[in-house]
Symmetry: C2
Subunit: 396 residues, 2 copies
């Protein structure tokens, strides 16, 4: 029986692949501070389950392929509050941001086409591209430059006749970078100059801690080239609901997306009911969550600043920070932390950085830390990380 | 901005594409008997919402990529009752049978590879194949032969070095055919002779009305080549829950599938809770539903038998019947029924047959009828269909 080359080429998730070591450590009674996965500890707003509990359709029937109308209207209203005007027919509900990304890639690129990304980047972008036989063309950014974008000239050198789209996250996962207005304008110029699509993954829109946030949706000239990927996962701490959306004003694109949505019939009905209710959560909730994460960002940044030899980006958004560790190999160090090290029975788990890079050899000494724990736990986690780095045999 | 050739090649769903005509007819006050879509009117068992209402996790967090353990165990137990032994690691929860099919196709076939199907076939198979640049190689079956399989020699002529899998539905959608033991043995022989994968879509397992049902899972010699696609949608009338699964004993296949599942993180958590409860529904429920559909099958078969010039297959399973109509073009006739015809303000909607065929020109005078209405409504629908055929200007 044949197994396709495309799936054999998929790498395992850097976020999940150390799980067996964590399971073994827990079996020995170790407590683990999980900084490896972007799973917030914030409570999901009660509106979610309250609305679902009221669902009383006798038959849990197929819904609209585009998404249920109350949810589409709720999303439209949410964008309106962000000063973005969309029509119903611009919004397509998806199985999480994941399906939104996959549908966008397959609708914009044929096999052999290229997707331009900035590395380090969210590792699953690679999986979605590979399963559709689309090639990633990764433009490097560096810890030294705080993972900000290189010059227009450098980016343009990566554009080939095969390049069909730029895919980026803003605020950034895994880097926590928030692009400046100048960087955004540069991206817009490049997109329009080469008539590319811009897939803007803005699922962390509310998670910006210094200054204002600007969506790529604010650039009117980009209307025909912009595809926004969004999700309730992080915004409302509802990762398990798997409700995202694709948003675009390009009618040719959305016409094709609807066909793709029809092929998988519809998204889960109950989570759509819950998600529609989430979008009615008062803005004050999002502000409180933002303040809580800002505290956490400050806490982890302060903890990291105390660690000798560690280089940290200055994370402005999302809830990740990418760090350069004074070690031979961050993945070996991560495994060592789980297998060999503890402080009073406690250790820290994080995602090795190499999995967020496409270029071989890059990110070997880097790691992504998700600050999804409360400040007290984050302080402890930073102390344990510092102690681990001091004791690690492979330190540099 | 580029739109990929692969999605431009997607056809619209024959099951959903006449919806605008139906919407217009309803706006004029017409009542429509919907035989176009396999949406059962049977109530979803109360266990589904009862279990979901009890969900009280404070954070709706990411679940396991493979699926939640209680659901995997419930599915395993369900197969055990069907005399099929699977391990936890053989079962992967998916976003409906749809995602199960898509993941199977992409994991077995690279671009340019071929999937052997028997036409007429479930139209979305085509969409899943095209989005992964896999070619459909369709072996014709005919209304005259009751849509049963052709000889081994005919099937083997369609197998090329590019053929990687056979994909079939049993019981069949859109035909209602249930393969005989001889047909199943022939398929098993072909699969083993060419070391192909067999993707057996068995979502209608409980919907067999004459004689016993046999799963391809009963053939031990097929263990390493079999991938079962399953779903709660039809079994428990929970189409909107979007919970399916992929099941295989081939460890290389399931190792790759897990990587694919990790890329999209997890399936919706609440529907997984509900689906696990559905699998505890007493077998008597499934038997009652089977008896109800058997009555409907008999009702629609009796109604069809009375219509002059109409050729019907002898449907033994699922809840579809494929018919050959005495008309110039079944799609034109379907539109005419919605736009021009009614009996006391009532009309009938069905899916044109051409959309279930790959070979150009095939199925032009055929239609798929889904008998998902109660017997009284079905009787009325057959009377309206008969009257429509008698009055239709394009009748043959």
């Amino acid at each position: 029986m044949n197994i396709s080359k495309r799936v054999q080429a998929l790498t395992t998730s850097p976020i999940r692949r150390l799980t067996p070591y964590a399971t073994a450590a827990k079996a020995k009674g170790k407590k683990i501070y999980h900084l490896n996965i972007g799973q917030p500890d914030i409570e999901t707003p009660a509106q979610f389950m309250d609305s679902i509990r009221k669902f009383d359709d006798k038959v849990v029937a197929y819904g609209n392929s585009q998404g249920e109308l109350p949810l589409i209207h709720a999303i439209k209203k949410y964008y309106k509050e962000w000063n973005m005007d969309f029509e119903d027919s611009d919004i397509y509900v998806t199985n999480g941001g994941s399906e939104a990304l996959a549908l966008a890639v397959m609708t914009l690129c044929d096999p052999g086409d290229e997707l331009l990304v900035f590395e380090p980047y969210y590792a699953n972008y690679n999986s979605f591209a590979r399963t559709y036989n689309v090639n990633i063309n990764a433009v490097p950014t560096s810890a030294e430059e705080g993972y900000h974008l290189p010059s227009k000239e450098v980016i343009e050198k990566h554009i080939t006749p095969k390049t069909k789209a730029i895919l980026l996250t803003n605020p950034g996962n895994p880097t926590g970078v928030v692009y400046t207005m100048d960087e955004m304008k540069m991206i817009v110029e490049i997109v329009l100059k080469y008539d590319l699509a811009l897939i803007a993954d803005e699922v962390y829109r509310e998670f910006v801690y210094d200054g204002e946030y600007h969506s790529f949706g604010y650039f009117k000239e980009l209307d025909n080239n912009l595809i926004i990927v969004d999700s309730v996962s992080k915004r409302y701490s509802a990762c398990g609901a798997r409700i995202g959306c694709l948003v675009s004003k390009n009618k040719q694109f959305t016409t094709e997306i609807l066909k793709c949505c029809q092929a998988r019939l519809c998204c889960p009905m109950l989570e759509q009911v819950g998600a529609a209710a989430l979008y009615t959560t008062p803005t004050s909730y999002l502000q409180e969550v933002n303040q809580e994460y800002k505290k956490r960002r400050d806490t982890i940044a302060a903890g990291l600043a105390k660690i000798p030899g560690l280089m940290s980006s200055n994370p402005k958004g999302a809830f990740y920070v990418m760090v350069k560790l004074p070690v031979d190999d961050a993945e070996k160090f991560a495994i060592w932390m789980l297998e060999e090290f503890d402080v009073n029975g406690e250790t820290v788990m994080f995602a090795p950085g190499n999995g967020f890079y496409d270029t071989p050899g890059c990110g070997v000494d880097e790691a992504r830390l998700a600050y999804v724990l409360n400040c007290e736990d984050l302080e402890k986690a930073m102390e344990i990380l510092a102690a681990g780095l001091a004791a690690y045999p492979g330190k540099k």
